[in-house]
Symmetry: C2
Subunit: 371 residues, 2 copies
């Protein structure tokens, strides 16, 4: 790997001519332009199901040590591309880097998911929160983006990402994962103004963070709204979608001579596709509970659609995997605007050979839908 | 409390003339007939948030000891009616009584939810499963139903219930609660025939179980499909709804001179309301992610709708609770066919006084919608 300290490589993405991109299928699909086959990436494609990931993780130490080390983060980001014919890389990082940079003290307990040492529970806690300087406080993320872009060398686009304000806020107020969202919903229903203050700060932070990723070289960005589906319809509009829309409005939409598409993914958000599609985003990610064909009819020509294989399908036989891939392609139907993906992150228990079977089925079956 | 061993009281519900019922608001609402105010009950209304429940539980021993003791189960079933002006009682029991009667060895670990000592993982495991004799193997449930009916003495109707075949199967195959449903989805995608065999046995068992509850005195029955929302649309139709529909078709629909309404509640099933409404049920339960008004428009005149306050609203102030109750009444709009409920079970951390505020708001605000 070459040195990453050469300032020239750090700004190469800022040249006026677009950088070379050998595979732009995902950018085309996100723009609903013709492709030769349906492009694909997988949420959490760099991760624990890969033995080579586990080897790097063992060298790195903790999960956050891995995220913070530019070389390690770059290595694991590229690993799935070596195994599978994926059409994009997604930066290996965590959705909680922003609250960590805000000083909440992110840590991971084995089998328990992320936790914060200092959760926010009061208006005073929220008032003390400040927007981080993305370039300075989250420089490890931008450095990893630069390294990945250099290593990819135009092979496929790099996707940057962030958690949505609502999703970040749930972790920050609950202090970790939650089954019932008791603390944040107590704030939502009992002290909505404090929650709006927090979400406003987070919307600014996410905008800055994604723009810094774009300047560093991210060519697509996705906002993960993991917990939006826990809200009522009006609460989703007011406390989640409104802030994602604010972010979309503040993002750099063209960089390095190309459009930078934005994908919004609300898990369990199938009931709200129309309003998500109206947010100004380029694509809506859907989980497997929503039919691709229905989603396409509902959003019309407004946006592309990303999804939506149930990750559990990958536990079945290659034959069953192929059958479900075929069903999903048929559900979306012929034409453009589909980025294939899972409906949620790949499970750590997945056999990588089954991912190969998934890719083979998609590569074999999808060209027929693009003639 | 009177003796429950008098055979005469056990068969009183079988007399040809309808038994007295002083408050039939819920039966009227489920039939979309006029009511003076919107009737209400709460999922998990008998439970840990009530100090008087915790007192009985401490006397009873384990959770299943409480379910199996006719007097204790009756006592806790009636407790919420002493505090709140609820329009129905729901039998205190567990959704996993059927798999327990099948010999899977139900037990509860503190903070971990239900578990089975002998989960089903293979076709051979499934082949060994037999339909229990509801009257004999689940006699403790029927005895509790008889006791509650006697104690209620026509005050409000008694709701019986069961888990759906899909939901029971998830617990039986996973061996307990699950985040990703890995084992049962491996069966669904990898060996669907075995899963269909299991679901067929469970559909028969649930039908027998609910019919036994109806004969013992349950005046409404609800099927809880807690995990149906984890499925893709076609998988939901094939592996969950089809079996609930089979049950609905096999239930006693008139007993003791009255219609016995059936409510289907699929958590996170908002995308499938139309097909649920076509199952032959009398009412569809919805969680808070679906708007009541939208749900009403979508199901039309076919069924009543039950729901859908986010239980987390009860953590907020009485003023905020009233505001959300008002919003939901307005969303459903004027007219008949609405049974008020939570969108999921009440949290153990709820202050009972906030439930009082909820009831007061509903009693004060809902009559205006029934003129």
């Amino acid at each position: 790997m070459t040195s990453f300290n050469d300032p020239a490589t750090q700004t190469s993405a800022d040249d006026s001519a677009p950088s070379t991109l050998h595979n732009d299928r995902i950018l085309r699909a996100l723009a609903r332009e013709p492709v030769d086959r349906t492009p694909v990436w997988m949420m959490r494609q760099a991760g624990r199901y890969l033995p080579e990931y586990r080897a790097v993780r063992a060298k790195a130490g903790s999960f956050m040590d891995l995220c913070r080390n530019r070389d390690f983060a770059c290595d694991v980001t590229l690993q799935p591309l070596e195994r599978f014919p994926l059409d994009a890389a997604i930066l290996f990082s965590d959705i909680l880097t922003i609250p960590d940079a805000m000083g909440l003290g992110l840590y991971f307990e084995t089998g328990e998911g992320p936790k914060f040492r200092k959760p926010l529970r009061s208006a005073a806690d929220v008032a003390a929160i400040e927007v981080p300087d993305a370039e300075r406080d989250l420089d490890y993320v931008m450095n990893a983006v630069r390294s990945v872009r250099q290593e990819l060398n135009g092979r496929v686009p790099l996707i940057g990402f962030s958690g949505s304000p609502w999703t970040l806020a749930t972790y920050m107020v609950e202090g970790g994962s939650s089954k019932d969202f008791r603390h944040i919903k107590s704030m939502l229903y009992g002290d909505p103004q404090t929650l709006h203050t927090l979400l406003g700060v987070l919307a600014t932070a996410v905008t800055d963070y994604l723009n810094a990723q774009i300047r560093a070289g991210a060519q697509v960005v996705q906002i993960f709204d993991t917990w939006g589906g826990s809200l009522s319809t009006p609460a989703y509009q007011e406390f989640s979608l409104a802030y994602m829309q604010r972010i979309v409005g503040g993002l750099i939409r063209e960089h390095d001579g190309r459009r930078v598409p934005v994908i919004l993914f609300t898990k369990n958000g199938g009931q709200w596709l129309e309003s998500i599609a109206d947010s100004g985003c380029d694509a809506v990610g859907i989980d497997w509970t929503t039919e691709l064909g229905d989603a396409r009819r509902r959003v019309g020509e407004r946006v592309a659609i990303q999804g939506n294989l149930d990750p559990n399908v990958l536990f079945a036989s290659p034959k069953a995997i192929r059958s479900e891939v075929s069903r999903l392609l048929e559900s979306f139907g012929p034409g453009e605007g589909h980025v294939f993906n899972l409906g949620h992150g790949i499970s750590q228990f997945t056999d990588p050979d089954h991912v190969t079977a998934f890719m083979e089925a998609l590569h074999e079956l999808s060209p027929a839908y693009h003639r």
